[in-house]
Every structure is written in structure tokens, then in C-alpha cells.
């Protein structure tokens, strides 16, 4: 337990100390919110879908959590290159606990980033339907964060260096984001697109966020919760296994 806590704390300390990284990582969601939110707002309204900022904000929060958590998982490559990974791998702690500590640390950071973006969205005019929805949305943020940190860790366990990182971003994270319904409603999509979206884990994350924040759901909050929980457990298992197989 102590090992999980100390590694969780390490991730948090690293996060708090890298102010440049915090600011930099908020730039992208802000850009999406402003450019897309205000840019497409009028069209969205004319199409009879209401306020686009209201619709978009949960998507942008989901995006922030996705990017931060995958990046936290992939930080493993960083630790491998700069050596700290070795220090944890020779410690008399089962590797699964080390992996869980890292994952929870990364996920906590991602949730904090998500919360900051939620506040920014509210400053831009976003209004959660009911205040009671905010704690529920925190739960969904946590699930998205755990799922994708575990995914990042699993991928990073199999990579030796940063060469593969760009590949992960372009062929995994970007598609996961753009096909998730973070930016558009999933209703009435072409068949193929709708199938792809329903296979995208983030679709359920964003749907859960919308359900809790603005009371609008495509799959339904219960389905979202079930899918995210099961997938998180599976990815933690896979990530934990791949992590335990690391040889240096």
C-alpha cells in the first residue's frame, strides 16, 4: 500500500512542479473550446441542436482527460530513458503495485486537469444542468483517466524509446478523440461511423460526462459506467501484465 501511495505522490509532485506543462496542456482544450465552440455555435443553433458550448464542453473535458492520461502512461518511456524506472523495478515490491501506483498518480493528474478545464468552460459560458451532476462527472473523469493511463502504460511497456510515441499519438490517441463524439452528436451518423464510435471507449466517457453535466445521453449513464469499468479493469490487467514483463 505504501508503495502505491509513494508512487502516486511522486506523480503528483512532478505535476505540481511542472507549471509550464500545466499551462501548455491547457492551451489545446482552450483553443478547441473557443475556435469550435464559438465558430460552429451559430450553425449548431440553426440546425436546431441548441447551444454548442453546452454540447462541446463535456467533449473538451473528455479530451483533456484523454490526452493527459495517455501522456502520463507514456511517461514510463521517459522514466526508462532517464533511469528512474530501474530504481522501481529492483525494489522489493510486486510490479503490479508499482504499475497501480503510477496509474493512479497519472489518473489523478488527469482528473485535476479535467476539473481545471471544467472551470474554464464555465468561464466561457458553460452551465452544468444541475450542480449535483458535477460529482458524478468527476466519477466519469476518473474512469476515463484510469482507462487511458492504463492504456498508455500498456503501450509504453512495449516501447523502448520515443520513436514510437508519435505513432501512438497519430494512430491511437487522435482517432480515439475525433471518433468519440466529443465534437458532434452520435445520433444519425452514417452506419460505419456509428459502429466505429460505439467501439471507441472515449465515446462512453464523453457520453457519461454529458449525461451527468447536461443530462443528455446517447448510450445512457448506466451503460457508460458499465463499459468504462469493465474496460478499465481489462486494461489495468493487460497494462499490469506488460509492465511486469519489462526487462532492461
Amino acid at each position: 500500500m505504501n508503495a502505491i501511495y509513494i508512487l502516486w505522490l511522486r506523480q503528483l509532485k512532478r505535476y505540481v512542479r511542472s507549471r509550464a506543462r500545466i499551462v501548455a496542456s491547457l492551451g489545446q482544450p482552450l483553443l478547441f473550446l473557443v475556435a469550435l465552440g464559438f465558430g460552429f455555435g451559430p450553425i449548431f443553433r440553426r440546425a436546431g441542436q441548441g447551444n454548442y458550448i453546452q454540447f462541446l464542453a463535456p467533449g473538451v473535458i473528455g479530451m483533456t482527460v484523454l490526452f493527459t492520461s495517455v501522456f502520463s502512461g507514456v511517461e514510463l518511456i521517459w522514466d526508462r530513458q532517464f533511469g528512474f524506472l530501474k530504481e522501481t523495478l529492483v525494489a522489493p515490491v510486486p510490479r503490479i503495485l508499482i504499475m497501480i501506483g503510477r496509474t493512479l498518480g497519472g489518473a489523478t493528474v488527469a482528473v485535476i486537469q479535467g476539473l481545471i478545464v471544467l472551470v474554464i468552460c464555465m468561464l466561457a459560458g458553460f452551465r452544468p444542468g444541475a450542480l449535483g451532476g458535477v460529482p458524478a462527472s468527476l466519477g466519469f473523469m476518473a474512469l476515463i483517466a484510469i482507462l487511458f493511463t492504463a492504456l498508455g502504460t500498456a503501450v509504453a511497456s512495449a516501447l523502448d524509446d520515443f520513436q514510437g510515441f508519435q505513432l501512438v499519438m497519430n494512430f491511437l490517441v487522435m482517432p480515439i478523440f475525433f471518433l468519440s463524439g466529443a465534437l458532434f452528436p452520435l445520433l444519425g451518423l452514417p452506419k460505419a461511423m456509428s459502429v466505429v464510435a460505439s467501439l471507441d471507449p472515449l465515446s462512453y466517457g464523453v457520453d457519461g460526462l454529458r449525461a451527468s453535466l447536461i443530462g443528455l445521453a446517447h448510450f445512457g449513464a448506466a451503460t457508460d459506467l458499465a463499459v468504462l469499468s469493465v474496460l478499465s479493469a481489462i486494461l489495468l490487467g493487460i497494462g499490469g501484465y506488460l509492465f511486469s514483463q519489462i526487462q532492461l
Binding site: 505504501n2 508512487l7 533511469g83 528512474f84 522501481t88 522489493p92 515490491v93 526487462q247
Partner: protein, 263 residues
């Protein structure tokens, strides 16, 4: 205390460690010497659970690192050849994480951290992030950290690389003292022959993955008819330079060097 029997590790075609056997007694200081790429670090990785042997047997204090990983890990401390600190954290935090991972109770952890940081003259800088440290300071911190959980076996993989003579001297004095007072078994690698001669009870020389000689510094010198350990080492391993990929110019220089040596 440390046992290797017919230890072999292959990477594809390359036999990095080839049928290596040695036995280090409790309380012994054992130096493992060899040119670059000879298999020293690969051997240490297999002893410290970072790498699985292709074949052969290893034991740390009777524990097999391949099957009883955590039992084996509890028993050793290691200073790696390359840095393994978290440079965003302070010296104190790096020590504290280590102590927590090794389940050293909090008050003992704090006491020992203070004592070790004072010993290695890092106490005044304990709250500075490691990224502000010089190479020598980082090295000292790694060594202090490796000693925090009072291991039975200490692996030192080229611990003095890049240190000034003062720090090197300090380090070996401390290692010897630790060995004498707490009977810590030490397994070290170094390129400085005089260091090995000074601290090691027994020396093994490895080249191309095989142990070519083993014994006290005195015995190795007698065996090769050399005056110094450095000469004995060169006689046993040849004088060509073994950088993993030598280019044509390097090879020519080596040829020239060998030819001149024979004259």
C-alpha cells in the same frame, strides 16, 4: 552469498554472457573487471532481477532472483552504471521514495537518510531538486540511496565513473568500512584497476562474456607474471579496444598499437 552457475545470456546471435560461474562468500568484496561490452552489466542485471538468464543458475543469499524476485530484491542494494534518480524531485524525496519502497519504517528512514546525506555531504542540499546537482553529487546521492535499506549485498556498477579523486577515495573508504563493520557483501565493477586492487578481496576478469581468470589480485599478477593488476588485466584481455562497434580507423589504430606493443 552471490552464486552464478553456468550463467548464459544471449541476445539473438550474440552471447553477452557465456557460461559464467562464480561464488562470492558472505562479507567478501568481489571485483568484476572487464573491457567495455564484456558482459559485466548484463551479469549484474541478471543477478538483480532486471533480466532473465537464457540458461544457468543465479542465487542471492540462497534466493533465486528469477523465481523469488521480491525476496532477492530485499537483500541487495544497487548503484547503477547510469543515473536512476528522479531529477524533478529533491535529494530528500528521492531517499524517501526509496525507503518507502523498501519498507523502512518512517523514523528509521528519516534518521538514516539524515546520516547518509551528511556522510556524503549532501545534507545542505537536501531540499534542492536533483536536476540542479553536478554529476558527482548525483553519484553520491545514488550511493547513499543504495545504502538506505541496509542491504546484505551491495552491487556497484562502475560507481566511481566521472567522480573526482576526493569523492572516489571517500566512497571506497566508506564501502570498506561498511564491509568491515556490517559484513556487507560487495560486488563491484570498475575500470580503475587500482581501486579494485585496493578494496577487492577477490577479482574475476571477464572478456567476451567468459571469465578468463579469477583469484586475488596477487594471484592474478603471479599467474600472468605482471607487476601491476593493470598489466595483468591487459595480458588477459589483450590490448585492443572493444567498443561495441569499432570503425575502420579504430581498427587500424588498434593494429598499430598491437604492433608497437610487440616490438
Amino acid at each position: 552469498m552471490i552464486l552464478a552457475q553456468n550463467l548464459t545470456k544471449t541476445f539473438g546471435e550474440l552471447k553477452a554472457v557465456d557460461d559464467v560461474s562464480f561464488d562470492v562468500a558472505q562479507g567478501e568484496i568481489f571485483a568484476f573487471l572487464g573491457p567495455n561490452g564484456a558482459g559485466k552489466t548484463t551479469t549484474i542485471k541478471m543477478l538483480t532481477t532486471l533480466l532473465k538468464p537464457t540458461s544457468g543458475k543465479v542465487e542471492i543469499d540462497g534466493m533465486d532472483p528469477t523465481t523469488h524476485q521480491n525476496e532477492a530484491r530485499k537483500r541487495f542494494g544497487i548503484v547503477f552504471q547510469d543515473p536512476s534518480l528522479d531529477s524533478e524531485l529533491t535529494a530528500w524525496e528521492n531517499m524517501d521514495i526509496h525507503g518507502a519502497l523498501y519498507k523502512v519504517p518512517r523514523h528509521i528512514r528519516h534518521e538514516r537518510t539524515e546520516a547518509l546525506l551528511k556522510l556524503f555531504e549532501l545534507w545542505d542540499r537536501r531540499d534542492d531538486p536533483v536536476k540542479q546537482f553536478s554529476g558527482g553529487m548525483k553519484r553520491r546521492l545514488e550511493i547513499a540511496r543504495g545504502l538506505l535499506h541496509t542491504p546484505k549485498v551491495l552491487f556497484l556498477d562502475e560507481p566511481t565513473l566521472g567522480l573526482d579523486p576526493q569523492t572516489r577515495n571517500q566512497l571506497w573508504i566508506h564501502v570498506k568500512a561498511l564491509n568491515e563493520s556490517e559484513h556487507v557483501t560487495v560486488f563491484l565493477t570498475t575500470h580503475y584497476m587500482e581501486e579494485a586492487e585496493r578494496v577487492a578481496h577477490r577479482i574475476a576478469i571477464i572478456d567476451h562474456g567468459k571469465i578468463v581468470a579469477q583469484g586475488t589480485s596477487q594471484a592474478l599478477k603471479q599467474q600472468t607474471g605482471a607487476d601491476t593488476l593493470e598489466q595483468a588485466f591487459l595480458k588477459l584481455t589483450g590490448s585492443s579496444i572493444r567498443d561495441e562497434d569499432a570503425n575502420a580507423t579504430d581498427r587500424m589504430r588498434n593494429m598499430a598499437r598491437i604492433w608497437q606493443g610487440r616490438r
